[in-house]
Amino acid sequence: MAVKVKFFASMREYLNQSELDISVSGATTVAAVWQQVAGDKPMPENTVCAVNQTQAKPDFAVNDGDEVAFFPPVTGG
């Protein structure tokens, strides 16, 4: 299945990736998507994950066509 993956701010710099489409076989989770893209780079402790633009935990199930995003704590305002 196809998953769009996005990285923002310091996470984008950490992985040197901003956006990519990946192909996943079988059931997967947010954490598995991270591992597939980041390889052996661990997910920083305070990473925020989102699936389809809604915050989600690392064990959240990802479906075909989902958009999965990883970013640091927000600092707007």
Binding site: A50, A69, V74, G76
Partner: protein, 151 residues
């Protein structure tokens, strides 16, 4: 209820005036509480010469709309408005504007502060500062929005 993302400098008082003139019914609201966040030329003890505000297009707008809806459920508001700057920004330029209109002041004050705190903790924006020596750093977390008694 409106959310605006500005990629260029905006005038918060003019935006308020325009929003109020076009969206509010004169005579129905008695209280308008607003907050404007402006870029300072210092942060955490260092001089700052500029900043870049990154956001997550799509999720940012929907998160802001969610907190506006939450405020509207919690308080009797006539209207509310959030505007936020993105892109490169200089000291003295406005970053964020939050405004709430209500018949009475308690609701306007409470909802305005709620929106500001919710925005700071939930809306996907990130600040990268450029210091006086041209080095850059990500702002790592937002400061607390409430006063605490001295220890």
């Amino acid at each position: 209820m409106a959310v605006t993302i500005y990629p260029d400098s905006f005038d918060p008082w003019q935006a308020l005036q325009q929003h109020q003139d076009s969206r509010l019914q004169s005579g129905k609201f008695g209280a308008t509480a607003t907050f404007v966040g402006t870029m300072r030329d210092f942060n955490e003890g260092d001089d700052v010469q500029g900043m870049t505000l990154e956001h997550y297009p799509g999720m940012t707008e929907s998160q802001l709309q969610l907190i506006i809806d939450e405020a509207a459920q919690q308080w009797p508001l006539e209207d509310s408005f959030i505007a936020h700057r993105v892109g490169p920004i200089l000291p003295g330029e406005p970053i964020v504007l939050v405004a709430c209109w209500s018949a009475h002041r308690a609701a306007a004050f409470d909802a305005c502060r709620f929106l500001m705190e919710a925005l700071k903790s939930k809306a996907p924006f990130w600040k990268k500062e450029t210091l006086a020596d041209n080095s850059q750093r990500w702002v790592e977390k937002n400061t607390d929005g409430y006063s605490h008694p001295p220890a």
